[in-house]
């Protein structure tokens, strides 16, 4: 996955993501594609969750999957989740759950609860950084005001880091793939550098849905695992999602 929250020169935030999933889940030699990724695309749905006929939050999800990985709460926040790989991974959390140790929260259920119930950026940040989890994760959170964006790096038990937007220091975007931002990514899976190169070349004054979509369409940020791209803006109440493909030749991840 690649998630980004960027602030334009007027202080508006744009949050976007490429959803990549299906690594090692069967390679289709004939079509040069990941089998599960191909089968996930037709399941992608945008969902308007309503209560009393009013929108509570919007999400791009997969049919049959009740948790959330991408969402916008109108006027309040945007949220995406990226996978964080670790030996102390979610399978241990699942085993603990089976053994009756059940204090941890399921990742995508927590994300949905935050989208459903959080009333502010700060409340969402607290919930995402302090709740004990079943699996490690990156939460990419955007608010509704200038400077309100961060990447929360989580282990199952604790919050390892909160990386905030810092306009004063020239940090006008935060970008997360699937590696801790303070460490180099795996050399064979470096989507961070190409994505940053494109954003830096775009510059803050030209940032928009169009230029972020351009960055998310650039190989290898776009790759064989990419199922959809979602673009979100709280301040403009815009939510757009598109099914993606990366025709051969294209990186498998």
């Amino acid at each position: 996955c690649t998630s980004v929250v960027a602030e334009d020169t007027s202080g508006k935030l744009i949050h976007a993501r490429n959803m990549d999933f299906g690594l090692f889940l069967g390679w289709d030699v004939k079509n040069n594609s990941w089998m599960v990724t191909e089968l996930l695309r037709p399941l992608a749905v945008n969902v308007n969750f309503q209560r009393n006929n009013k929108t509570v939050f919007l999400s791009t999800s997969f049919a049959g999957y009740v948790g959330m990985l991408t969402g916008l709460k109108p006027g309040v926040l945007t949220l995406t989740m990226n996978e964080r790989f670790s030996l102390d991974g979610g399978y241990i959390g699942v085993l603990e759950w089976i053994l009756g140790i059940r204090q941890g929260a399921w990742m995508s259920f927590l994300t949905r609860s935050v989208l459903e119930n959080a009333t502010s950026y700060d409340e969402a940040k607290t919930l995402l950084s302090k709740t004990v989890l079943l699996a490690p994760a990156y939460f990419i959170l955007g608010g509704n005001k200038s400077g309100e964006a961060c990447v929360i790096t989580r282990s199952r038990q604790s919050c390892l880091d909160i990386w905030e937007l810092d306009i004063q220091k020239g940090q006008w975007y935060v970008l997360e793939t699937n590696y801790d931002h303070w460490k180099p990514p795996l050399p064979i899976d470096n989507r961070r550098a190409p994505a940053m190169k494109c954003l830096n070349r775009t510059t803050q004054k030209n940032i928009s849905f169009a230029t972020i979509y351009d960055m998310l369409s650039t190989k290898p940020v776009l790759n064989k695992l990419t199922t959809y791209t979602t673009l979100m803006s709280v301040s403009e109440s815009k939510f757009e999602a598109y099914l993606r493909d990366c025709p051969h030749p294209c990186m498998p991840w």
């Binding site: 889940l25 049919a63 049959g64 699942v94 190989k219 294209c250």
Partner: protein, 122 residues
């Protein structure tokens, strides 16, 4: 290979509004009414997506059979996973039951799809 063309490319421009070979279409919109009983919330989506959902879960089952040379693990998922996981937090547990009913898939397989993230973070 990631650092050389055609596996990498210079920053693209002019791709928006989306079109061309990297764009496969818009994603359809649905409404989920949170005032409805959890079991009923996903009926419309599952009615429309039953076939691709079944195909995706079948693919996962095929992979499991390939790697573990048998159906025992799938039988375990179908028959034992709901009991092993016990009560998942509400309203997710009831929503999954509703999805299983609407799709005709075993509850264990719907649960497996929903805990995919946790399982694959290794």
């Amino acid at each position: 290979a990631q650092d050389v063309p055609p596996y990498t490319e210079d920053c693209r421009s002019g791709t928006y509004p989306p079109s061309g070979p990297t764009y496969q279409g818009n994603i359809p919109w649905y409404t989920v009414n949170l005032d409805q009983a959890p079991r009923e919330r996903w009926q419309k989506i599952i009615a429309d997506k039953k076939q691709p959902l079944t195909a995706m879960i079948q693919q996962i089952k095929d992979l499991v059979k390939f790697f573990f040379h048998g159906e025992k693990l799938i039988d375990l998922v179908d028959t034992k996973l709901p009991a092993l996981l016990g009560n998942l937090p509400p309203p997710f547990d009831e929503e999954m039951k509703g999805i299983a009913e609407a799709s005709g898939l075993p509850l264990g397989e719907v649960m497996l799809f929903n805990i995919f993230y946790e399982v694959f973070t290794v």
